[in-house]
């Protein structure tokens, strides 16, 4: 694997000043290397989607942003809008949760898949031929006639495949996937993920996969970052995360997920997930943590290296975890 394709350093995001001013992300750092699939897992309010959108510069106006987002050596946050548009077209592609909400319903599928190519100067005929190949690659029957159809003629799963084809058209180096299968049925999800993984591996793309589903992230990602209340609390290779979670929140999430192959009934984590704005001083998870001590409520743990993992927990090194 090559050097970092995406390098987010100490990213902090705060919504615009005024009544609504509130922090969303606090010093989020993460990396995706060339050809690597990285999961970003968290519950509602964790800031996982904002992190993902920030890479494309998709934040509300006047949001104050700190830190750096480096893609292929270029700092995205320092660039003007025109550069960002070009960048979104060529280098990075994004797939969203709801395919129907992210495609123009009155335009044909062919227009959608080819628009990036044509904007990049590819002649129409060539772009169309390429689109046909792409639709075939994502498993759409009769791609030639599919190009002439409208989004409403496709089911949710088929439309998400079209979105993937559109995202791959410009041969980006980095794919951002924001809960791309959450709106889909289980069996459709499985098929879409299979196609996505296959194409990603074949093209050597890096991927940041945002999801609330640890099991899904584990199924397709090499490494996983776990977010809680606007911060990264743990980062590990997938295998390690499942066999030996270092942060009590990760352990809690794993215990809460119902599993097919386990006799252990799922166990809830008391309380509810917080957003950064609601988080108290000290460790944001302390109130829900069965291992929390007084110092956890006073000092905020930094993300530190522990074996092969990065963990933000004051008690991470103690044996209580095992």
């Amino acid at each position: 694997m090559g050097g970092p394709l995406l390098d987010i350093e100490e990213l902090s995001v705060r919504l615009p000043p005024g009544q609504a001013a509130r922090p969303i992300l606090d010093a989020v750092s993460l990396r995706v290397s060339q050809g690597e699939a990285v999961g970003l897992v968290g519950e509602s309010g964790s800031g996982k989607s904002v992190t993902c959108r920030a890479v494309l510069g998709l934040l509300p106006e006047r949001t104050s942003v700190g830190g750096r987002i480096v893609v292929g050596g270029q700092d995205v946050l320092a660039k003007p809008a025109a550069w960002l548009r070009e960048f979104r077209r060529r280098r990075v592609a994004m797939i969203f949760q709801d395919p129907r909400a992210s495609v123009n319903p009155v335009r044909r599928v062919g227009d959608f898949v080819t628009e990036g190519l044509r904007a990049g100067g590819t002649p129409y005929k060539q772009a169309l031929a390429r689109a046909e190949e792409l639709l075939e690659a994502v498993g759409i029957d009769d791609p030639r006639s599919a190009l002439r159809r409208h989004p409403h003629e496709f089911s949710g799963g088929m439309l998400q495949r079209v979105m993937i084809a559109g995202a791959l058209a410009a041969e980006p180096d980095l794919l951002l996937a924001d809960e791309p299968t959450t709106a889909l049925d289980v069996t459709t999800q499985a098929e879409v993920i299979a196609i996505l993984s296959h194409l990603r591996t074949a093209r050597g793309m890096g991927m940041l996969f945002v999801t609330h589903d640890l099991e899904l992230a584990a199924a397709i990602c090499d490494r996983i970052y776990v977010m809680y209340a606007g911060r990264i609390v743990e980062a590990q290779a997938t295998g390690g995360l499942f066999t030996r979670p270092r942060h009590p929140y990760t352990a809690g999430l794993l215990a809460a997920t119902p599993r097919l192959e386990s006799d252990q009934p799922p166990h809830g984590v008391a309380g509810r997930p917080l957003s950064l704005a609601e988080a108290p001083d000290g460790c944001a998870f302390a109130a829900r943590c069965h291992l929390a001590e007084d110092r956890c409520r006073e000092h905020r743990p930094a993300l530190e290296v522990l074996g092969h993992a990065h963990v933000a927990c004051l008690r991470a090194e103690e044996p209580v975890h095992d």
Binding site: P16, S49, V50
Partner: protein, 280 residues
């Protein structure tokens, strides 16, 4: 989710506008109620010596052709100007909500009949209806108010039907059915109260439009009859003064209409925003 929250939070500054709109309306209502105390002159008092005089310390906005004080007529005009639309909006809101919710709740034939009926009224020009009624019952406030109430009912009705349909598809309505409540109880106690806020928002906006339509009728001579002060009639009377170089007799009531309409629209939008924000 997150994106929605971002968007929602982002719209807050609009609230200041709403507050300004409410303030303007409060002043207007106060002025209308306290007209005899606030107005510097009798709005009907004729003083030919002051005819078409420009602004002076005695007549702040000047006087019209008959030498009546423009400011006083404006202040008294606010009474008819606000009372007419108030009646129109009240009547059309009650009728529209009733018909719209009924159409949504009953569905089927009832819905088809009511919806087509509303479409029919919708397609009929409001001013033509008003002029027809005036021709039948004579000019004054009542015929135009009745006509406008009828004309505005489908606007409210369509909205009420749409909102009611959306609310009815929400599981809280189903939950009450499963609990064993009768349809009418659910409709009156849970559906209607959840439909009303958006209707009120629309009605506030309608208030402005109704004011404009009634002023237009007065302008054409079908509404409030002279010499009773009325903004629309004042614009009409002032129009000839324009040729003689006096702007204020026509411009002042025109400005009053515009300010009032804008204020009502702003408040209506504000309510709608607030309702949308409270939805979740």
């Amino acid at each position: 989710m997150t994106a929605v929250t971002l968007h929602r939070r982002y719209r807050l500054p609009a609230d200041n506008l709403t507050v300004a709109g409410v303030a303007v309306l409060a002043v207007l209502v106060a002025v209308a109620i306290l007209a005899p105390l606030v107005a510097p002159h009798d709005p009907l008092a004729i003083d030919f010596s002051a005819a078409l005089s420009g602004p002076s310390s005695d007549h702040l906005l000047g006087a019209d052709q008959s030498g009546r004080d423009v400011l006083s007529r404006l202040i008294f005009g606010a009474r008819a100007g606000l009372l007419g639309p108030l009646l129109v909006v009240t009547l059309s809101t009650v009728a529209g909500t009733l018909l719209g919710v009924l159409a949504a709740w009953c569905g089927g034939v009832v819905d088809a009949v009511l919806s087509r009926g509303m479409d029919f009224v919708f397609a009929f020009p409001a001013l033509l209806l008003a002029i027809t009624l005036v021709a039948m019952f004579g000019p004054g406030l009542s015929a135009p108010v009745v006509a406008m109430s009828i004309a505005y009912t489908p606007y409210v009705g369509r909205l009420a039907r749409g909102v009611a349909m959306r609310e009815m598809s929400r599981p809280y309505i189903h939950a009450y059915r499963v609990q064993g409540w009768s349809g009418w109880t659910i409709c009156l106690r849970h559906l209607v109260p959840n439909v009303l806020p958006l209707i009120f928002a629309q009605s506030a906006i309608n208030f402005g439009y109704a004011l404009m339509d009634l002023a237009a009728l007065s302008f054409l001579g079908f509404g409030t009859q002279p010499p009773v002060p009325d903004w629309g009639a004042m614009i009409n009377e002032g129009a000839s003064a324009l040729l003689q170089g006096a702007m204020l007799p026509a411009l002042a009531p025109g400005a009053a209409v515009v300010i009032t309409v804008v204020a009502f629209s702003t408040v209506g939008e504000g309510i709608a925003d607030r309702v949308a924000r409270r939805q979740r």
